[in-house]
Each structure stands twice: as C-alpha cells, then as structure tokens.
C-alpha cells in the first residue's frame, strides 16, 4: 500500500506547479538524503513499476511466438481484453473467483477468530497446541496441495475410505465438476486459518483485560463480552486481516493447479489459473490474453485496497 501511495505522491509533485523557491546549492546533508532515497526508488521502479508496465504493454499487443522473439508485436489496443471477455471461460472463471474468495475468506476468518479467542484463555499446553495449528502455514504449498490431492483421490484417497467405512458413497472430489471447486476451497481454508489465527490472536493481546473484568462485574456473560467488547475493539485488526486474506486468496494458484489444474472442464478455474493457462499452459503461449487476465486481477485487488484505505480513514475520523 505504501508503495502505491508514495508513487502517486510523486506523480502529483511532478505534475504540480514549478518550484518557485530561489535555486540554492544543495548541502552535503541533502545529497546524502538523495543517496539514501535512490536505492528504494530504484528498487520500486525495477521490481514493481517496470513489471507492471510490461504486463500492461503485453496485454495491449498482439503477440505470437514469432513477434515475441522479434519484439515487433503490433499494438492492438483493447483487443486482448475483448478476447478475454468474449471467451466462454470468462463467466465461469469470474464466478469461481468470487465464490472461491468469498467462501475462503468467511471460513478462514470465522475459524481463525474462534481459535484465537479459544487460545486466549491460556490453558495448559495452549502454546504447544497453537504451534501445531501453525503447521499448515509453514508447509511448502506444493507439499500440502499434493497431500490434499492424495487424500481426496477418488480411488485410493483416505477421505473416501473413511466415508465408505461409515457407509457413505465415495465422492469424486477432484474429478467431478460438482465437487472440484469445493475441494480446493476446503484445502485453501485449511491453509489460510493459521494466518488469521496469528494476526487475530495478536490483536486480542492488545485488548486490556480490565475491560473484560469490568464487564464481567457488570454482569455481562461470555457471549456478550465477546460481541460487545472483543469484536468491536478487534475491528481494525479484522479489517487488515480480511484485506490481506483477500489479496492472498485472489491470487491463489498453486493449490488449484496442483490439485485440479482448474478442471475438470474449467469447473475450478479462477482468474489466477486461467491467466497461467493462457500464458504458459500451452506449447504456443497466448501472452497477450494471459497478461490481460492478470491485469484484471491486479485491478480487483487494487479496488479492494482503495476501499480499505477509505474505510480506515472514516474510522480514524469517527
């Protein structure tokens, strides 16, 4: 966020009226200040601004393998975006992205908050148990996703074995168009809960215990104390948790790709996997449309970022 703000600030300055102050020779202190500033700016431009610009440029040109190598791809304006919008995959991919993100966020947040409140009780072994809950977060994504796909395998997976042990028909978790999206959502919730747990738990620490004690003396029960004290005081932490969660979830790729490759028949394709599929999933890559889908994702994340900034400002004012 700070990167975007700083950048827009820069632009505003450059576009503003010319400096009217009399020209002075910069002092050595000022030179030192510039020297300190340069690495950061350089880093931001090289690793953020330039790739973004390149991605935008890619999405506005008609690339074939030949023009990619020769570097003479013709400028085609918004043609790639039109291709993407007209693609039969667009509507399902949009729907899946929205469902995936919304369901994952709701469950990750709710479970994370419940666990955070639970661990806030400081019972015996709570630290050990909390550490165990962090395991999904520490595992490399490829390990957890592969493990999930083994567990959910239609033929030899442990989940279907358990289901048949209690007399339920096996479910084709990863290979049925009705279930594949649900399967990747379940796996992603499992991976995302620890992050919510950690952030919300640290948020709970900052709520003074005296408030709870005072409320208890006034006769508030546990539920009322949570709903009237904990939850409202946790609001700023909740907002940032949800925003970060949203950005992480929007761009989730590894889990879906490893578990279902976005299939079968696009039933678990999101914008992230679709963008990869277009750009790299074929022997003849479609860089233009792939970049266009990627840009749509960036814009979506940016829009929610701005909403967050607005909400935060309103909260600060009130």
């Amino acid at each position: 966020m700070s990167a975007t703000l700083q950048k827009s600030d820069h632009r505003a300055t450059l576009g503003g009226p010319a400096p009217t102050a009399p020209r002075r020779r910069p002092t050595s202190q000022q030179w030192a200040a510039w020297a300190f500033l340069t690495p950061v700016t350089l880093y931001l431009v090289l690793f953020y601004a330039y790739p973004l610009y390149r991605n935008l440029d890619l999405s506005l040109r008609h690339y074939t393998v030949r023009s990619f190598v020769q570097g003479d791809a013709p400028f085609t304006g918004l043609a790639n975006y039109r291709t993407v919008l007209d693609d039969p995959t667009f509507a399902p991919a949009l729907l899946h992205t929205v469902v995936f993100t919304a369901v994952c966020l709701v469950f990750q947040y709710a479970l994370g908050l419940a666990l955070a409140v639970f661990f806030n009780q400081h019972f015996r072994l709570s630290a050990t148990l909390r550490a165990l809950f962090l395991v999904p977060w520490l595992l490399p994504l490829i390990v957890s996703a592969s493990t999930w796909s083994w567990m959910l395998n239609s033929e030899s997976g442990v989940v279907n074995a358990l289901l048949s042990a209690v007399g339920i028909d096996p479910v084709n978790w990863l290979t049925s168009p009705d279930w594949s999206l649900a399967s990747v959502i379940i796996a992603n919730i499992w991976i995302g809960v620890p992050f919510n747990l950690v952030v919300l738990y640290s948020g709970l620490q900052s709520i003074p215990a005296s408030l709870h004690e005072a409320a208890a003396i006034d006769g508030a029960n546990a539920w009322q104390r949570f709903w009237r004290i904990t939850f409202p005081l946790l609001r700023p932490v909740s907002a940032i948790t949800l925003l970060l969660g949203l950005v992480y979830t929007l761009k989730v790729f590894d889990i879906i790709w490893i578990m279902t490759k976005g299939g079968p028949a696009d039933s678990s394709t999101t914008f992230a996997t679709w963008s990869y599929q277009l750009g790299f999933g074929n022997l003849v890559p479609a860089f233009g449309p792939g970049a266009a889908v990627g840009n749509l994702l960036v814009v979506a994340a940016l829009a929610f970022g701005l909403i967050y900034v607005r909400v935060q400002r309103k909260q600060a004012l009130s």
């Binding site: 820069h10 300055t13 340069t38 700016t41 190598v69 290979t175 079968p264």
Partner: protein, 414 residues
C-alpha cells in the same frame, strides 16, 4: 507541503531517472556480448534431462564430443516444461544456446518463431532417420533438427490378473475384444485399465492412440470416428472398467495405480520398462489396438537435437560437428539405452533388439507411431491439443456428452 520539499522531490526523481538510465545501458551492453559470443571456444548445450548430473554417461558423452570438436562444452539441464519458454526468451535476447535439445512437438513452434536453423543451413545429416519420426521436426517442407531417440505408448498388462479373470491376451485384437476382456476382469473383482486423462498435453498424448486408432484426423475433432474414441473412454469410466481418478492422473500416477497390482491394463510408455521390472509381478506389453483391428498409431515422444539461430553464423560448423558426434551410431545406442528410448534409425534399433529382446514390441510401436505435429499441422497442433484434452475432461467428468464435447472443441479451434 512547502516549495523546498517539492524542489527536493523533483531532484530526487531526476536523479533516479539518471541512475535508471545507467543501469539500462549496462544491461543492454551486457546482453549484446552474450556468454556464447564472448568466448568463442565454449559451446553451450541445453537439454531437458535434469536427472543426469555431471558424473552421468550423458554429461561425459557431451564433454568427449566437445573435445573431439576441439571446443569446451557448457551444459545446462532444464525441466522439460520450462525449456520451451526459456528457449524463446533466450532467442528474444539473442542469447540462444548453440545446441538445443527439445521435446519434439515444440520444434515446430520454435521454428515458427524463427529460433531454429533448417538442415539446409546447418548441414545436419538426417538421411538415416526413420521418416515417421523425422516428420515431427518438419514444417513447411523444411527440417529443423534430428531426433535423438523416440518413445511411444503401448498397453502394459498384468499376467496374473488376466489369468485369474480367464482372459487370453491373444484374443485382444480390437476395441470390442479389449472391452470384453475388461468386462471379464471387472467380473473377477479386479480393476480394468488405467491411463492418464489429465488436463495437460499428457492427456492428449494418451488419448491420441485411441483417437487415431478410430480413423479420426486432428483436423476434424468432432468426426463420428473421433466421437467413438471418446465414447470408448467415457463408457469404460461409466461401467467402472477404468477408475474415475484417470481424470486427474498424470502418466506417473497412472503407473502407480498399475504398480499396485490390482489393474489388468495400463497405457504407458517405454520409459516405464525399468519400473515394470521392479513392480514384482509378471507383465507383458501389447500394442494399442485400432477400433477395427490392427495396431493404432501412437504419438511419438522424445526429443530433437536442434541448432538455434546465432548472430555469429561461423559457429554452426562446430555445432554441427557436436551434433554429428552425439547422433552417430555408437553414441546413439549408448544415449538411447541411458534414456530408455528407442533409437531413431533402423540400424541402431536392430542393435537394441539384439541386445534386449523385450524392446521388440516397442520398436514395432515406434515404427507405427506418428508425430503429433506431423501432417503439416505444425503450430496448429498445440491449439487443437488443448481443445482435445478439454473435451476429454468434459466427457469423462460427465459434464458433456462425447459428441457435444468434441463439437465444442472443434468450434473453439476455428
């Protein structure tokens, strides 16, 4: 904000721009004098065999070929799926390897991009190579490299399972007799057949023998023959002859299912021979039958040795020497034995069969095989293939009928 700070920021921006321009020029001059032109005595070779390290026979062969040609060889191994993008990027920066070994369906794409030299330019001798294998590297009447080895698909079968089910392998001659055999196996309480129908190139690769075996052509995905091939697979799934997991199986996971010993058949490739010996049960190999008898054409796998375009054209002569060394009869035999491939020339194939009679069905299968980009499909193939694996996935998962799935695929190709 006061004017001093404004002034400050302006200067900062200008300084940054200057610094940026500096780095940009530095990068530019760096790529001009790329690693291969800077040192004319060192030749770079890129291959997709990361499983071979410095001490492997393959790496030693490259070194000795370099010594023979009087140059130093610098080898870099990439993951197969990475290599085509890396080759494109390198070509964009005029920094291509001198010798590039790539998966055969990629050759026509790289040729289309203008990355590869033709055999007219680089004087590679391809006269001994089997024409059906060479075809994968030909597009627009030009040849862009020579195959280093080939592999293809056939049916592995578990002799114990078939015996218990009372199936005689000799009776399997076409699709009907194969399906009848699967029914018997199913009745005996064992599992029928496993293959890979995953939504990637691997899925298309595995579906092609059935597609071609039906008499269908890649130019017309939704022909009645094509539909019959897809219906064969989806019926097997519906009847439980093939597991539902094939929709997500790679060729490796499909092999693991077969290695469990429960399955009668598995569609897999030459490269699993070594694993088949370790499986712990008696196995046999059967060519994939065509719809109405005969052997279906299976797609060829395996890599091509190519010479990418260089700005310094004097390098081709030495690169050609290197490739000639790699693909001469003796070295081909060694290389293809290490890679578990069938050789691309009849001479070396005969030598392979003489040394190991088990390779006989595979040599026959390779002789009947067909390149995916053959029939002058070239760069059209990847698009057709993507639609084909999508259709296979739709039909097998039950979201569309085979007919609708292939009709949708055909209209998406156009």
């Amino acid at each position: 904000m006061n004017s001093t700070s404004r002034h400050r920021r302006l200067t900062a921006a200008a300084l940054t721009a200057l610094a940026l321009a500096g780095t940009a020029t530095a990068c530019g001059s760096g790529s001009d004098g790329g690693s291969n032109t800077a040192d004319s005595g060192t030749y770079t070779i890129w291959d997709p065999y990361p499983q071979f390290d410095k001490s492997s026979a393959w790496a030693k062969l490259l070194d000795s070929c370099g010594t023979e040609a009087g140059v130093k060889v610098k080898r870099t191994a990439f993951d197969t799926s990475d290599l085509s993008n890396k080759a494109l990027l390198a070509a964009q920066q005029d920094n291509s390897a001198d010798v590039l070994i790539v998966d055969n369906p990629v050759v026509s794409t790289l040729a289309e991009a203008g990355v590869l030299t033709t055999t007219d330019d680089n004087k590679l001798d391809t006269s001994k190579v089997d024409p059906n294998l060479l075809a994968a590297g030909q597009t627009g009447g030009k040849t862009y490299g020579t195959p280093i080895g080939a592999n293809t698909l056939a049916l592995y079968y578990n002799k114990d399972v078939l015996k218990k089910a009372g199936v005689d392998v000799a009776s399997i001659k076409d699709w009907a007799s194969l399906t009848a055999a699967l029914a018997k196996v199913d009745k005996a309480g064992k599992k029928g057949i496993t293959f890979s129908a995953i939504g990637t190139e691997e899925g298309s690769f595995q579906f092609l023998p059935w597609f071609w075996g039906s008499g269908a052509q890649l130019t017309q995905l939704d022909s009645a023959e094509g539909v019959s091939a897809l219906a064969l697979w989806s019926d097997w799934l519906k009847k439980g002859y093939a597991p539902n997991s094939v929709i997500n199986n790679t060729q490796t996971t499909s092999w693991q299912e077969f290695a469990s010993g429960d399955y009668a058949f598995a569609e897999n490739g030459t490269w699993q021979l070594a694993n088949a010996k370790k499986a712990g049960f008696d196995y046999g190999v059967l060519p994939i039958p065509g719809a109405k008898g005969g052997n279906a054409a299976a797609p060829t796998g395996g890599e091509f040795v190519t010479l990418p375009v260089q700005s310094d054209t004097d390098r081709y002569a030495t690169s050609q020497k290197l490739v000639a060394c790699l693909t001469n009869t003796d070295h081909l035999y060694d290389t293809d034995t290490t890679l578990s491939y069938v050789a691309p020339t009849s001479e070396v194939q005969a030598k392979q069969v003489a040394a190991n009679a088990e390779l006989k069905p595979w040599v026959d299968a390779v002789k009947a095989a067909k390149g995916r980009t053959s029939d002058d499909l070239g760069t059209k193939y990847p698009k057709i293939s993507e639609q084909m694996w999508k259709a296979v996935q739709s039909a097998l998962s039950g979201s569309k009928s085979p007919k609708d799935a292939l009709a949708a695929a055909q209209s998406a190709v156009k």
